[in-house]
Subunit: 256 residues, 3 copies
Amino acid sequence: MNYNLSFIPARTPKPREYGLTMVMDKGLSMSEAQSLIESSGQYVDFVKLGFGTSLVTNNLKEKVKLYKNAGLRPYLGGTLFEIFIIRGMFDDFVKFVDELELDLVEVSDGSMELDNHVKCDYISKLAKRYTVISEVGSKRADVHIPDEEWINMMKHELSAGSWKVIAEARESGNIGIYNQDHSANTKLIDDIVRHVKVENVIWEAPLKSQQAWFIKMLGANVNLGNIAPNEVISLETLRLGLRGDTFFQFLPDELK
Amino acid sequence: MNYNLSFIPARTPKPREYGLTMVMDKGLSMSEAQSLIESSGQYVDFVKLGFGTSLVTNNLKEKVKLYKNAGLRPYLGGTLFEIFIIRGMFDDFVKFVDELELDLVEVSDGSMELDNHVKCDYISKLAKRYTVISEVGSKRADVHIPDEEWINMMKHELSAGSWKVIAEARESGNIGIYNQDHSANTKLIDDIVRHVKVENVIWEAPLKSQQAWFIKMLGANVNLGNIAPNEVISLETLRLGLRGDTFFQFLPDELK
Amino acid sequence: MNYNLSFIPARTPKPREYGLTMVMDKGLSMSEAQSLIESSGQYVDFVKLGFGTSLVTNNLKEKVKLYKNAGLRPYLGGTLFEIFIIRGMFDDFVKFVDELELDLVEVSDGSMELDNHVKCDYISKLAKRYTVISEVGSKRADVHIPDEEWINMMKHELSAGSWKVIAEARESGNIGIYNQDHSANTKLIDDIVRHVKVENVIWEAPLKSQQAWFIKMLGANVNLGNIAPNEVISLETLRLGLRGDTFFQFLPDELK
């Protein structure tokens, strides 16, 4: 911090097991990626190259190298995995990952249907060579997944080899763990937290209100994902109680 | 594409007659414009210098040159045409266009009332020296234009010399071809498509849901406008079926 | 302007007493700050380093110098003042301001409760060494402040030494002087304008509709704050009647 203050929660240091921030890159230019690194690289653990953007982005290999050299781990968004799988091109997916020299992959079934056993097989297979994160939840508003099933899938996928599971919200934040009005689906989230180790879940939280809600509920070091590149610093202030929304969160009672 | 995949729709190559993407520049700096070119220049056909921003932007001539040299055609947003016309300064408008060495102009009547015959006269006059695109639809929520009139104006303006007609939506996407809740005015759009050659229409579609809607309805190469500079790559993934919203759009039935 | 037009309202020149634009910097990188300066520095009077972002931003001193050298006055957002005050660290606040060589400070009570007399004492004390602006209004939706109290606080704070008072709206623009639906609280604003010199008020107006509303009501040179860095040029077009929303605002009747 640029000035020493009391009552600031301790943040886990890099490389983090918990307290993770995952940023969504939807096609940043090299100079924009450089800008992200310069301004807030130390707060960013992962950079997700969102959905299929990696297929149409210029200078992809250079950007991947740039992130890696700066200690930000880039990876291909889960939709890209599905884009290959639905075409029956699993081996090509692995080839693409290797060409980019990535060490982290995401497995998801947000767009296509994938039996959870099949998904877990992919996770096991990939976990032998890469760190795997897997995403639970549909991108479609009309698909309702019962709470028990969220929990079961998360447990199965962690057992199959996922390092972390991601709870789906899309970039718009009105799906999965959120209601249509962007508010948190508290019952579902409570249920997940009671049954899955919270350090193992990354919550997609694209909106400030969602980020503040999770920090108040699960602490400064909650894992959060789908953060916009220009919101990383703002998120860090929320985590540390340095913004109105979490101003009182980490203060002792006598100061409240 | 950075990896060869099957079932990806063919995109028209530059210089495009169809499959156009028009980006809205509301005052990008030189380095931001450079960033747009570097990351996604090949997907951008036109850059609209939105409303009156060209009058107050620094380094305007340099930015225009930068875009032109990179194969992106810049032009002055229609509101600027109206700003000159309402002051009786048509000749000055032409002078400003020539000073900037632009070869594309937009004629519109979104802010001021302009009899369609007068508008078509301007189009004819300008079409002798420039490529003309003209915009149909009001920027005002309280002005209702019947469907037949949309169609008639589009036909007249194309006959008068417009290369393409633009269907108005504003930067906010809740006007003209859209309802107040940003959903598509399907009846109006259906009517237009039945009567005007779809290759000749550019649909303003600032929101992702709107872009996906048009791609599903009219294909990967539908002409879309008012795209934010940092959404060009995302739009390209929608066009190619590389994002959740259009994931199944271009797949054969046996893979669905 | 890049072309001479008639019926463009005169803008006050820098350094401005009125016609102020305050930009919200939530953690720009050096190159993004440079970009803001290059594209629209002459339209920006102040740069607020929002809430606690200054504590976690890299290259803070360099960025402050960059802004100052370019004639944009940077200052620490009011929430930072409150972060120090609630910890009983007023002297440290002053030390931090001095280390950064800032000449402008903001005093606010948007997150914590502060008796107005105490707040005015801080204002008086700081006004001996710095230009002070103070913010009125709560960041919390559940705190209702009666109109008379808004006016009284503004008057007291100006008497205590505030150069300008800021009317609270948050970055989201749905608090304080705005209703939950982002529309202006016209009764409150009318009341303020009747009792406080309008040149002394800076209205937070993050949304375009809010900026246009104030320009129509109070003229091209109304003081506006919480402007996003990439909206400065757009705001300037609104101020000058160069965008649809204010197209007719400064035209003589015979042209309307």
